[in-house]
Every structure is written in structure tokens, then in C-alpha cells.
């Protein structure tokens, strides 16, 4: 396929098709509705199904059913819609089913707004639903990466029999960029001996998250934990941008913010300022070791997010003692220009910024 100019949301839809997904259940919500608009045209061309559910609750339970029946399935939504899906995400994690979720984040809490945000980091990486589970979370920063992540998400979901989320901000969904689809995106699905596809000559399969017997539930919890241990060992993804050298300031950012930070970093480096970027690509598992190691080469750390401070908590947890950690966030759908980030970096450099204290900012202010 020749390179195409695509909106992030359309590219996400096509990536799912290219990955062999033929079952898409969703409910529209800005700023990701173009995924559905694209697939309503595209799915019939490949004998696929797009079923618009009556709500996000229903859509996510349809995913449960489709995945249990052994087919590749996914949905896309935006922040409040993902909240509605939270219960079934927990059930799907408990039942160990492969499902791909795409969350194109908008501002919150509540209905919030429709403009870009990164304020669902906690929800995506720390739960959202109840119980002892994790989503594997990938955060693209370009439309091309959104394509690659969607294709990878299907593979990882099947590898671990666990829900995987592609987490982009509204800008990733809305902007247009040239994209190239890989020639062979369809991976052979692994055997699904657990799927409910008719008993034939084997014992009955039962897919459930209900385990009333304490030992059975414990065994399921420990099986999940063992998968998360494997993910934390094998699925950590990140990018170093001039972060493998000594730095006066090390920036940590993901998604669109990482892109804006790179523009600021390029300009500062042209002026001889030693500044680099660590960009987490997998948000869970968080690249703890990479952040720790790179922060050891830095005099100070600056975390920038489209939130009032979420990933910064993981950076604080990962960074070695003694490195001051600063935070700069923009919210409400406002996106800072690169100058705002260079300004923050320069404040850190000039000793004009206050690092976050042990208890956030109030401690420093009082």
C-alpha cells in the first residue's frame, strides 16, 4: 500500500483492519469518532463487523463475548467512555481475554472538554477498574506510531491473554500525517484452546472472572501477577533522545508532549544547553530502570504532561535519591508551544524553579 495521508483516528482503524481484526464494537465520542466513521466504511470491504452499541458499557461487554469466542476484537473511545467500560475491563482482565482498547484522551474529570489531555494516565496504568490487574499500555507520539502500536497491541494482547490499551491524547487522534502500513501486519493468532468455539471432543471451556473458592481466586490472581512480572521484564519500551549523555536537565514526557519537548530540546541544544529526553513508550510497564539510569546522569529532572501531574509520580518513584524533580503541566485542552517548555527548562537551569517536595507542591509553598 502506498503512503497515505491519514488522520490518527482513521489510521488506528486501518491498523486494526491490517492486523486482521474484523470485530469492532464501539459507541461514538469526540475526539475519536473518526475511528468509527472510518470503520463503518471499511469493515464491510473486508467482511468485518462494526456494531455500534447502545452505550460504552454494552460495547465493552460485546468485546468480552467476542474475545471469549476466539476472535480478534477491539474498541476505541475517549476518557468518559473508558470510565464506563472500566467494570468490563476488570472482568476481561480477570477472565484473561485478549482485547485491544484505544483511548484518545480528552480533558476531565467528568465530561470535561473535547480537547487533548493526558489526564487518564492514572486510570490507564493504575487500574480504572477494580481488582488486582494491569493493562499493558502503549503511548504513541506520532500517527505512524499509533499504527504500529495498534498492530503490536493485538500481538501482545494475544501473547499475554490480557487487555492492552493504546493511549493517545486528542492530538494523536485528530492530526494528519503520512503513514505507511507494514506489508505483513497480520500475525498468526496463537492457539486458543480456551476459546468457546464448540466442545467437539474436548471438555467444556468456561470463561469467567468469578472464583468463589478462595484458593481458586488466589491461583487466578497469582497467574495474573506472573504475567505482569513477565511484562515488566520483557515489554518495557522507551526512547532516549540525547539522554544517554550527561545532562543539565533531563525531560520526561510521552505522546504529543514528548514531541513538543523535542522541538524545545533541539533549539536549546543548538545553543549548547545539555538537555535530553526520556520518552516512555510503554506506560505500563513503566520504564523504571531507564528513567533511574538516565536520571543518574542528570542534574535535574523536568516532567511535562498535559495533566496536573500523574506520570511524575512514577518518575519520582523511579529516579534515584537526590535528583530534584520538577513538573510542568498544561490542562484544559491547552497545548503549550515549545517556548513554554524551553522557558521551564531555563528556569530549572537558572535555579528559578522549585522542585516538587516529598508531598508535592504545598509543602514547598508553605
Amino acid at each position: 500500500m502506498a503512503k497515505k495521508l491519514m488522520k490518527g483516528n482513521e489510521a488506528i482503524g486501518e491498523a486494526a483492519v491490517q492486523a486482521g481484526c474484523r470485530h469492532y464494537f464501539a459507541y461514538p465520542i469526540t475526539p475519536q469518532t473518526e475511528v468509527a466513521e472510518y470503520l463503518v466504511r471499511r469493515m464491510p470491504e473486508v467482511d468485518g463487523v462494526f456494531l455500534q452499541a447502545e452505550s460504552e458499557v454494552a460495547a465493552s461487554n460485546m468485546l468480552f463475548g467476542a474475545s471469549a469466542a476466539g476472535v480478534r476484537t477491539f474498541t476505541s473511545s475517549s476518557s468518559p467512555g473508558i470510565s464506563l467500560m472500566a467494570e468490563s475491563i476488570s472482568y476481561i482482565a480477570g477472565a484473561q481475554l485478549p482485547v485491544v482498547y484505544v483511548n484518545i484522551m480528552r480533558g476531565g474529570p467528568g465530561l470535561g472538554g473535547i480537547l487533548p489531555a493526558q489526564s487518564d494516565y492514572f486510570q490507564a496504568t493504575k487500574g480504572g477498574g477494580h481488582g488486582d490487574y494491569h493493562l499493558l499500555v502503549l503511548a504513541p507520539s506520532t500517527v505512524q506510531e499509533a499504527v504500529d502500536h495498534v498492530i503490536l497491541a493485538f500481538e501482545l494482547a494475544e501473547k499475554y491473554r490480557n487487555p492492552v490499551m493504546v493511549l493517545g491524547d486528542g492530538m494523536i487522534g485528530q492530526m494528519m500525517e503520512p503513514v505507511q502500513f507494514p506489508a505483513e501486519a497480520v500475525t498468526e493468532p496463537p492457539d486458543r484452546p480456551w476459546a468457546t468455539v464448540g466442545m467437539k471432543n474436548r471438555p467444556q471451556n468456561l470463561i469467567r472472572s468469578l472464583f468463589l473458592n478462595a484458593d481458586e481466586l488466589e491461583a487466578n490472581n497469582l497467574e495474573l501477577r506472573a504475567k505482569y512480572d513477565l511484562m515488566e521484564r520483557d515489554e518495557v519500551r522507551f526512547e532516549f533522545y540525547h539522554a544517554d549523555e550527561e545532562m543539565d536537565v533531563m525531560v520526561v514526557a510521552y505522546g504529543t508532549m514528548a514531541r513538543i519537548a523535542k522541538t524545545a530540546i533541539d533549539a536549546l541544544r543548538a545553543d549548547g544547553v545539555k538537555v535530553g529526553l526520556v520518552r516512555p513508550i510503554s506506560l505500563y510497564p513503566f520504564p523504571k530502570r531507564a528513567v533511574r539510569e538516565a536520571a543518574g546522569r542528570a542534574k535535574a529532572v523536568l516532567v511535562v504532561e498535559l495533566s496536573t501531574g500523574q506520570m511524575v509520580e512514577d518518575v519520582e518513584w523511579a529516579a534515584p535519591e537526590g535528583v530534584p524533580i520538577h513538573f510542568f503541566g498544561k490542562v484544559g485542552g491547552n497545548i503549550p508551544p515549545p517556548e513554554d517548555i524551553s522557558e521551564e527548562i531555563s528556569k530549572v537551569l537558572g535555579g528559578k524553579a522549585t522542585p516538587r517536595g516529598l508531598y508535592g507542591r504545598v509543602e514547598e509553598a508553605s
Binding site: 502506498a2 503512503k3 497515505k4 495521508l5 491519514m6 488522520k7 482513521e10 486501518e14 469526540t30 475526539p31 473518526e34 466513521e37 472510518y38 466504511r41 472538554g113 473535547i114 480537547l115 486528542g170 492530538m171 485528530q174 492530526m175 494528519m176 500525517e177 503520512p178 504529543t256 514531541r259 513538543i260 523535542k262 522541538t263 524545545a264 533541539d266 533549539a267 536549546l268 543548538a270 545553543d271 544547553v273 485542552g333 497545548i335 503549550p336 508551544p337 515549545p338 517556548e339 524551553s342 522557558e343 531555563s346 528556569k347 537558572g350 528559578k352
Partner: protein, 253 residues
């Protein structure tokens, strides 16, 4: 701008009202804004309406300032509704459409969904006083083939209850555009024209690509060429000065 805008671009669409439509992400807004800025040099009374009721993320609202500076009346929701997803049609729109004087450019939302709003203006857009232009990018999904483009045109015509009368070639792949892509786009538009009777009016391309295209066709392009300057910039491409200069400016160095 390296190239000047030839008047032949504007002569190709002489009607009082010019409507830009197209499929999602075809570049309607970039074309309408650049077209309007060029036309502003020739017209004393010129208005542009942002009629995109589908999606407020990238609209000509972002290009308001340069157009107003050029003396264009920009009709767009303001204040609280600027970034809303409400289908707002301002009362000024009907006024601008039904008056007899001045030129008017309409930037309509994508696909048939965006074009449906046109049907409510009925008579004001029928007859010979309005052109309905379809912006075509042959590198976009669904308009990369003649059949695909014809389908989109039919959908837009059905929804708007108007006929597409002209085509604008806007084939590009952003920074990765090459001159051959523009030529492919012109060929696609000519094939679409042969099927629909809508004529190719002009070719739009970013300034450097426009120059490359004109050179590639031996200096005499088959259609007028509108050289454009990119107005809808993503936030990581900053037109402002970076680095030390910026520090000095804000007193931090």
C-alpha cells in the same frame, strides 16, 4: 512567499459565492484560507464562513488573524462556543449568503455529514451565483481512486442537494509531498472530471511544491496554480524564535 498568486486562479471561479467541500481531511480549510487571503488583494468586500459543524479541532478559525488583517470579514463562532462540538450556524451566515454584494467563501465540513448543512441554504446557492468546489487529495483514503472520488462526490451532492461544479487538485503528503504526486492528483481529477462534468479549476500546493510542479510541466501548467503557505500548524512546529533569543526576550538569560 516565493511565488505570487496568479489572478487566473480567481478568474477560474468568478461567482459571488464559492463553496469549498471535500472528503474529510482533503485540505479544504488550508485551501479556503489561502484562496481567501489571495482573493482579499482583489476584492474590497470579502467574507469567509467557517461552516464546519463536524469537528472543531482543525478549522479555519485558527487562521482568523491573518485574514482579518487582510480586511476579510471572518464569520465564525466566538467565545465559549469556539471549541464546542455543537453544530452552530450563526445568523450572520444567512445574511451574508442572501445579500447581493461582496464575495463570499464557505469552508464546509468534511464528507456528506459536513455538506448536509448546505441544503438548508437552498436557493441562495443554486443557479449561477455559486460554485461548489470539491477539494481532492489523491493521497487520502477513499479518494485515491476515481471510483472512490465519484462516490464521495455523489454523497456530498445528495446531502447538500447541490451539484459539484468544479474540482480543486490538492494532492499532497504534507512534508513528504513530491512533484509526481501532484501530477498523479491532476490525472485523477481529470478522470473524475470526465465522469462528472465538473471542471478542474485550479491546482493547490505548498509554495515550494507549486514551484516544482510548474517547472516539471515546462512552465505552462494546464490549470492555474495556487501556491499556499501552511496555516494549520501542529504545536511542535513553532513559528516563534527558540532557544537563547527567547530566553533573552523573557529576561532569563
Amino acid at each position: 512567499m516565493v511565488l505570487s498568486v496568479p489572478n487566473t486562479v480567481f478568474e477560474s471561479v468568478p461567482t459571488r459565492v464559492i463553496v469549498f467541500t471535500g472528503n474529510y481531511g482533503s485540505g479544504k480549510t488550508e485551501v479556503s484560507v489561502n484562496f481567501t487571503l489571495g482573493l482579499a488583494a482583489l476584492e474590497s468586500e470579502l467574507s469567509i464562513v467557517d461552516l464546519d459543524v463536524v469537528n472543531p479541532y482543525f478549522r479555519c478559525r485558527e487562521a482568523i488573524e491573518p485574514m482579518e488583517a487582510a480586511g476579510v470579514e471572518v464569520i465564525v463562532p466566538r467565545g465559549e462556543t469556539f471549541a464546542s462540538e455543537l453544530p452552530i450556524i450563526l445568523p450572520e451566515v444567512k445574511g451574508a449568503m442572501t445579500r447581493d454584494t461582496g464575495r463570499l467563501v464557505l469552508d464546509v465540513g468534511g464528507d456528506d455529514v459536513g455538506a448536509r448543512v448546505l441544503s438548508s441554504f437552498g436557493p441562495a446557492l443554486r443557479g449561477d451565483q455559486a460554485e461548489l468546489l470539491m477539494v481532492l487529495n489523491a493521497r487520502r483514503p477513499f479518494t485515491d481512486t476515481v471510483d472512490g472520488a465519484l462516490r464521495i462526490i455523489r454523497e456530498i451532492e445528495n446531502a447538500s442537494r447541490l451539484k459539484v461544479t468544479g474540482l480543486v487538485c490538492n494532492t499532497h503528503l504534507m512534508e513528504e509531498t513530491r512533484v509526481e504526486m501532484i501530477q498523479e492528483g491532476v490525472e485523477l481529477a481529470e478522470a473524475v472530471s470526465a465522469e462528472t462534468g465538473a471542471t478542474v479549476r485550479f491546482v493547490a500546493a505548498m509554495d515550494d511544491m507549486a514551484a516544482g510542479y510548474i517547472e516539471a510541466v515546462g512552465g505552462s501548467p494546464p490549470y492555474p496554480v495556487l501556491p499556499m503557505v501552511r496555516r494549520m500548524l501542529p504545536p511542535w512546529i513553532s513559528p516563534l524564535r527558540q532557544g537563547r533569543d527567547r530566553f533573552r526576550q523573557i529576561g532569563l538569560d
